[in-house]
């Protein structure tokens, strides 16, 4: 890679730092409290793109490209699920979870589970599983960052990996002025522009989409099929369903994603943000898969499919734009990695350490636990990424399949099914995680033609229903939880379109006033 690419990559970081500094100066002094409290100047578009930049990880630039390169248009099943995943998540559990979490007074998504399904076992199992799997997810970001850095700078992979890990850690520990909404917004624009530029360059090189598809047809017609290379997945609807599920319904089972509902602004803002996010997804999500497919023609002798997007950019784009693409990749890696590390640290300190080990932990002890865990994850991740690096695709699919399988019914039933009880939720989480894990570890996909995600979700859903119904007498859902769920549901004959304007922040007060009214009435 030329020094020009490195120059533009460094320039990108300078701009990110500058935006962060500018944003914090805007919010400095007397307005800093205002920024910390409300962030009232952040509108739906900025909110949406901030979320998208943290949602889209290094997977999109390495895993998605590799999948397109190796399987052709079959990869678009994953893209199709991903495009609608955010809106599906918001529609199914978003508003109710926001209300319920406020009424329960839960700060983390794991604490929320314990309050809805009252048992320390729920919090312990969910906390440990989430920390473990998010650690894997961080590993994928480290590998993505290391590979990208090695290609850009030309320095050996071990050093590039160390630099990438160092940048991610600094980014996580510094936070604040680097990770403000405006830097995320800028990064999401860079990601979109960067990947779209590669798409346009690739299609121009190949004479347009039709010409590219014709060339693919001449090379290997099965790459144009929705059944994968050599029709390897023909008729395997169980695998297709898994590909669709993983980034659509699967989102509803990811504790680090559903936690955003708890911090969501007013539903009306969230609705507009959802529209912006969908528009961004429509443009961004299919692009890396498409570039991977085009790379089959542009780089026929490519050794490492995960480098497809990097290499296509390097071959077709001028150095300045290649620098932008590299910046986009690093933006995706950093914004996701810091988010994952913060979530992991928060769950480890609050949901495990404070809850089970030291209930009177001081602020300093909590920070030490969080930082210690983040450093440990980075160190272990570095060693694994160095000596036996799995593919980014395989790590992300493993972690997200197990997470989604374990938690999807627990989060969905928490808001929609009043009979979902503690034994049902616990057995559902354990069975979902076990089935998805075993399915991947024992490679049952080959023999059953069913994706781990589908098998896991079926397992966790069935056990949630069966165990909850079977244990209603010995472990009924407490009436106080049922009341809170009633409150979270639509109350009164207010038109649905107007309910989105209701102030959910008043739900706890409304519940208390209703309860006081009931007490007065009964007297």
């Amino acid at each position: 890679m030329s020094t020009s690419v490195i120059f533009f990559l460094v320039l990108y970081y300078v701009v990110v730092l500058g935006i962060g500094y500018w944003a914090m100066r805007l919010g400095a002094g007397e307005d800093l409290e205002g920024y910390l409290l409300g962030g009232r100047k952040v509108g739906p578009m900025t909110t949406a793109l901030t979320l998208q930049s943290t949602s889209m990880s290094g997977y999109m630039f390495l895993g998605a490209g590799a999948l397109g390169f190796t399987q052709g248009y079959w990869a678009m099943w994953f893209a199709a699920g991903d495009i609608g995943g955010g809106v599906l998540n918001l529609s199914v559990i978003g508003r109710r979870m926001r209300k319920l979490s406020r009424m329960f007074g839960a700060l983390t998504s794991i604490e929320y589970l314990e309050k809805r399904y009252p048992s320390p076992a729920i919090r312990f199992f969910a906390g440990v599983l989430t920390v473990f799997l998010l650690g894997f997810y961080v590993l994928a970001q480290l590998i993505a960052g290391g590979k990208g850095m090695a290609l850009v700078t030309g320095i050996p992979y071990p050093f590039a990996l160390a630099i990438a890990a160092g940048i991610i850690l600094i980014y996580t520990f510094m936070g604040g002025y680097l990770a403000v909404a405006y830097t995320d917004f800028f990064q999401s624009i860079v990601m979109l522009v960067g990947v779209m530029w590669v798409v346009v360059a690739a299609l121009s090189e190949l004479g347009g989409l039709t010409a590219a598809n014709n060339a693919l047809n001449d090379l290997d017609p099965t790459l144009l099929s929705v059944w994968g290379k050599d029709l390897g997945f023909q008729g395997q609807w169980g695998v297709v369903a898994g590909a669709l599920l993983i980034f659509s319904a699967g989102y509803m089972g990811w504790p680090h994603v559903v936690t955003r509902h708890m911090a969501m602004s007013r539903p009306a803002t969230a609705r507009k943000a959802g529209m912006w996010a969908t528009a961004w997804n429509l443009l961004f999500v299919p692009a890396p898969y498409l570039v991977g497919i085009m790379a089959v023609l542009i780089l026929p002798g490519l050794d490492d499919p995960e480098m497809a997007i990097f290499q296509v950019a390097g071959k077709l784009l001028p150095p300045a734009v290649t620098g932008l693409v590299m910046a986009a990749i690093m933006a995706a890696v950093m914004s996701t990695a810091d988010s994952l590390l913060l979530q992991t640290g928060s769950i480890a300190s609050r949901d495990l350490y404070e809850r089970f080990i030291n209930p009177h932990a001081s602020e300093r002890q909590m920070v030490t636990v969080s930082r210690g865990l983040v450093l440990a994850i980075a160190a272990i991740g570095y060693v694994v990424a160095l000596y036996e690096p799995p593919t980014v695709f395989s790590i992300v699919i493993f972690a997200t399949s197990v997470l989604g399988s374990a938690f999807l019914p627990a989060y969905v039933c928490a808001v929609w099914w009043k009979k979902a009880n503690t034994p049902g939720a616990l057995v559902s989480m354990v069975s979902g995680a076990s089935v998805a894990f075993a399915w991947q570890y024992l490679d049952y996909v080959e023999t059953t033609q069913i994706a781990p995600m589908l098998a896991g979700v079926v397992g966790s859903t069935v056990t949630m229903i069966v165990v909850s119904l079977a244990t209603q007498k010995i472990a009924p859902v407490p009436s106080c939880i049922k009341e809170v769920m009633d409150q979270a549901a639509v109350v009164g004959p207010i038109p649905k379109r107007l309910l989105f304007a209701a102030d959910d922040g008043l739900s706890p007060e409304a519940a208390a006033i209703d309860a006081a009214g009931n007490r007065r009435q009964s007297r």
Partner: protein
């Protein structure tokens, strides 16, 4: 019962007529009536924090309110306070001890700062209790709905009809 007491209340910009307008605009019922006024108690704290910024650290003070009925904490935008004489029967009974409220406030502020600034840092939060403060709400009944209307923001929330 007509006992009154002087309480520190958040200055509300919206009166009973405004609450009726909110209800009428939502439901189309121009015969909506104010069913009652509720004076809702909160513990108020000034949370002094040390926040990392580009050039070091900056001291900031955030206001944290803890719902004295449910024990739920939240950071709050700035507000004006005034002393007001209110009917005792309108004041909702508290159900949370002050020490518990301090813990809740501390937990709320540290969690809020960490997630807002997206960083793992110590904020050295110290709590300065300001005692109880109260906020007014209007309960408005229309022909087929009951609404809770916030006197400071005019935000609203449906209430259960059966509690009428």
């Amino acid at each position: 019962m007509t006992d009154r007491e002087q309480l520190v209340v958040i200055h509300g910009s919206f009166n009973a007529t405004d609450a009726l307008c909110v209800a009428a605009s939502l439901t189309g019922d121009i015969k909506a009536k104010v069913e009652s006024e509720i004076i809702y108690p909160y513990y108020c704290f000034d949370a002094r924090c040390s926040v990392p910024i580009l050039t070091g650290r900056q001291q900031v003070t955030l206001v944290c309110l803890v719902d004295a009925v449910n024990g739920l904490g939240a950071t709050a935008d700035s507000f004006e306070l005034k002393k007001e004489s209110v009917l005792v029967e309108h004041v909702l009974a508290t159900g949370v001890a002050e020490l518990t409220a301090v813990d809740i406030a501390h937990r709320t502020v540290t969690h809020h700062l960490g997630s807002k600034l997206r960083t793992i840092a110590e904020f050295n939060v110290t709590m300065q209790p300001r005692g109880f403060i109260y906020k007014g709400f209007w309960v408005v009944r229309t022909s087929d709905a009951r609404l809770l209307v916030d006197s400071t923001t005019a935000g609203w929330h449906p209430l259960k009809l059966m509690a009428a």
